[in-house]
Symmetry: C2
Subunit: 418 residues, 2 copies
C-alpha cells in the first residue's frame, strides 16, 4: 500500500482577503488533487507581504508533503511571491534565457512594448524548475526540499489551470508515485440526494474498500462519483465499470449522462439524433429556458426559437392563446399552459413545444395561487403533458428550478418514460 | 487614532477541502469585515477533526484580535466544532434551557420528531455567550479570552449571514470600538478600469487620507467604492458625500447607480417612470437578455416579451423580417438587425425594441464574419441605432457581453446620451 500524500493550498492575495474577488482557484485545485488521490488538509489565504508568506510556507511544510501556491506572480510591485520564495529557499534570482525569449515573443506578437518589470518576469530562483506558461508571461515554479514539493503558480485561473493540466498534475503523480486513480461520474436528475442514497444503499455497502462513492448535489441534479484506487490501471477501469453497471439498473430512470456531460447538451444530442426540433413558450421563466438551450454550441440544429410571452397580450398575439382561456382560467392555469405548449410548436413549426407560466414572486401571489405556483407544459404531435409545481418564495430559484424540471420532462418524454 | 483590529476567518469542513462545495462564506465575511474597518489577515480552511481545529485556533489567536469560525455545528457526528471549542476554552457543555425551548418549538412547528442529537444542539460551552439563530437549530457562540474574541457560526450561508447581520457585526463594533465607517458605491458601465482610473486620477490623488477608493470590476461594469473612516458619523457622511459629488461630473456618462443598485433593475425603474415598454428580439443572445429583464421583480410593468428567433425562418415568421434581407445580407448584418429591432417593437406593440444577431461561436465563423462578430440594434419610434461588435472566441462570454452592451445602449438612449 502506498503512502498517503497530504497537500496544502496557499493562495496569496490582498484582493481575496478584502473580499473583492472570489477565490475560485482553491476549489478547482482541491477537486483536481482529490481526483489523483492526494488528500488536501488545509487551505490558507495570506496577504501579499513577505512575513505572512514566509510564515505559511514554514507552517505548511511542517504538515504537508505537497504545497500548491497561487498568486502574486504579476509584474507589478505588489506581487512579491517570487522574491519571497527565493528568500525562503535561500537562493538567487537568475534571468532564464528561454523564458526571456518567450516573454519577448509574447510582447512582440501583441505589438506591445516590454519594460523592465516585464523583463524581470524571466528572473527565476536558481533552486527551482521553471514551468512553462503558454498563456501568459509568469512561469510556474517547482521546488523540492527534504522530500517535499512546493509549486508556485499564477493567480489568473485560466493560466493556473493550464499549468496544472499541461504538466504539474503529471509531475505530482510521478514524484509521489501516487496510486492509479480512475473516476466515473453518473449524472442524475429528478431524485433527491437522500432518496438516491436509499435506492442504492445495499450496493453502496457492498462496494470494495478501494472504490469510494461521493454524492455531489447541484440545482436539483445529483452527481454520483465512483473513485477507484489501485496499482493496475486496466484492472481498476474494469472494476469501476463493473460496479457502475451494477448500480445503473437501480437508478436508470434518473440517469442522463456520464463524466463531463451537461443536461442541455445531452438533450440537444438526443433531439439531433432523433431528428426532432423544439421551441419554447416562456412566461415565468422569462427566457432562461431558451438560454439553457442556446448556450450549447450548434443548438441551432434543433432549437428553432422561443416566445417570451410575459404579458397576456403577447400570449394571445404571439402564440394564439385564446383570450377567453386567459379570461376564464387566468394565465397561470392548466388551460393556458396547455394552449401555450401546443401553440408554440405550431408557430415555430417544431416537433416539440415546452411552456412555463407561473408566479415567480416575490409579489403577485393570491390565496388560491400563492407565489411559487407554476404550471409547466410539454406538447408533441401525439400528446400534451401538463403539471402544476409548488416551488419556493425565491424568484431566481423558481426560475431555475422550473427550467430544470422542464428539461427533465423533455428527457423523460424523449426516452418514452411516461 | 484607534487601534487597528486584525481578524482571521476559519472555515471548518471536509467538503470544502475535497472541493465538493464552493466556500462562499469566506468572501461574504471578508467583505463585511472590510466594511466595518476590520483588517482580515488570513483565511484558513481545516478538516472536521479535533487536532487541526485546536491547532488553527491557537495559531489564529497568536496573530489576530478577532477569529470568526464557520461550520461544523450540525447535529451529525461529523460536526465536532462545538466539542472542540469547549476543549480549547477548557469549559463544560451545559444544556441551555432557552435554546432547548427554541429547538423544541422549531421541530414542533414542522411536525418533525426531535432526537437526542437535536436536543444536544442546546448544549453550549459554559464559557460562551450563545447567539440566537432564528433560521435554524444551531446557535452561534461568542467567546472572549485575553482581549480576543472568537465567534463560531453555522456553515449554512443564510444562517451565518443572518447571525452576523442580526447581532455579531454590532457586537464586534462595540467590543473593539472600531472606527465609524461610511461607504458609498458608484456603479459604472461602458468604461474599462484603467480608462476610469485615468479619468479620475487627479481627484483620487486629492482624496484625504481617511477616505479610500477601491475599484471593483465585474463583467464590463466597474464599481467604485468610497470608504470613509472617522469618529463622527454625521461629519463623515457629509465628507464622503462631498467627494462623491466632486467625482461624478468626471464620469457622469458611465454612472448608472449607487450602492446596491443593479443595472437591469435601474433600467426597469427608468422605463416604468418614463411610462415606456420594451421587447427583445434575440438571435445570438438566445433568451439571455430577456432573462436579465425578467429576473427583476415586477418587470411585467415594462417588459412585454421577446422573440428568440434562432432560425432564419423564425426571424421571418415571428418578426416579419423580409426573406430577401436575409438572402441578400445574411442573418448577421446591419440590414437584418435593423429590421429585427424595428419589427419587434411593432410585434409586441412596445415603445422600444432591442435586438441581437451574431456568431457566438465556437463554430460558424467565416473569413468575412469571424466568431465574435455580433450586430446589436435599438429602435424606438424616432430612431434606429445599430452597432457591430467584435468580441471573443468564447460563446458564453459573447452572450453575456452582448446582453450587457445592449443594456448599456438602452441606458444611454433613455438618458438621451447619443
Amino acid at each position: 500500500m502506498m503512502k498517503k500524500v497530504f497537500a496544502e493550498i496557499v493562495n496569496i492575495g490582498d484582493e481575496i482577503l478584502y473580499g473583492q474577488i472570489t477565490n475560485t482557484n482553491v476549489q478547482w485545485l482541491s477537486t483536481e488533487l482529490d481526483k489523483i488521490g492526494v488528500k488536501v488538509v488545509r487551505h490558507s489565504t495570506v496577504a501579499d507581504e513577505e512575513a505572512p508568506i514566509l510564515q505559511i510556507l514554514a507552517e505548511a511544510a511542517s504538515r504537508a508533503d505537497l504545497i500548491l501556491i497561487t498568486g502574486g506572480l504579476g509584474p507589478t510591485k505588489d506581487d512579491i511571491t517570487k522574491k519571497t520564495l527565493a528568500k525562503y529557499f535561500d537562493t538567487e534570482l537568475v534571468i532564464n534565457e528561454t523564458i526571456l525569449a518567450h516573454i519577448t515573443a509574447f510582447f512582440e506578437a501583441r505589438g506591445r512594448e516590454m519594460n523592465e518589470s516585464n523583463r524581470l518576469q524571466a528572473a527565476m530562483p536558481a533552486a527551482c524548475t521553471p514551468i512553462f506558461n503558454r498563456l501568459g508571461t509568469a512561469p510556474g515554479m517547482w521546488f523540492e526540499q527534504n522530500g517535499k514539493v512546493f509549486v508556485s503558480m499564477p493567480g489568473v485561473p485560466k493560466e493556473m489551470e493550464i499549468l496544472m493540466e499541461d504538466s504539474i498534475l503529471a509531475k505530482i503523480q510521478a514524484f509521489f508515485q501516487t496510486p492509479v486513480i480512475h473516476h466515473k461520474v453518473i449524472h442524475t436528475i429528478g431524485i433527491g440526494e437522500s432518496m438516491l442514497a436509499d435506492a442504492i444503499a445495499d450496493w453502496e455497502d457492498s462496494l470494495p474498500p478501494h472504490i469510494k462513492l461521493a454524492y455531489l448535489p447541484n440545482w436539483g441534479q445529483v452527481r454520483l462519483r465512483l473513485t477507484g484506487m489501485g496499482e493496475d490501471k486496466e484492472k481498476l477501469v474494469e472494476e469501476v465499470h463493473a460496479e457502475m453497471h451494477k448500480v445503473l439498473p437501480l437508478i436508470d430512470k434518473y440517469v442522463f449522462g456520464f463524466d463531463n456531460d451537461e443536461l442541455e447538451a445531452v438533450l440537444g444530442e438526443t433531439l439531433a439524433a432523433q431528428g426532432k426540433t423544439i421551441a419554447t413558450a416562456e412566461s415565468c421563466t422569462g427566457g432562461y429556458l431558451a438560454h439553457l438551450f442556446t448556450k450549447v454550441p450548434k443548438s441551432s440544429r434543433y432549437f428553432m426559437g422561443g416566445a417570451v410571452v410575459y404579458s397576456n397580450q403577447a400570449k394571445i398575439d404571439q402564440l394564439g392563446v385564446l383570450p377567453e382561456t386567459i379570461d376564464e382560467h387566468g394565465a397561470v392555469s392548466e388551460a393556458t399552459i396547455r394552449e401555450m405548449a401546443m401553440r408554440v410548436r405550431e408557430v415555430f413549426k417544431t416537433d416539440i413545444g415546452l411552456a412555463s407560466s407561473g408566479i415567480a414572486g416575490p409579489d403577485g401571489g393570491t390565496p388560491e395561487k400563492p407565489v411559487g405556483t407554476i404550471w409547466i407544459g410539454y406538447a408533441d404531435g401525439k400528446e400534451v403533458f401538463t403539471k402544476k409545481l409548488l416551488l419556493t418564495q425565491d424568484r431566481l430559484i423558481n426560475i431555475r428550478m422550473t427550467a430544470n424540471i422542464l428539461l427533465d420532462t423533455l428527457r423523460r418524454k424523449l426516452k418514452e418514460m411516461y
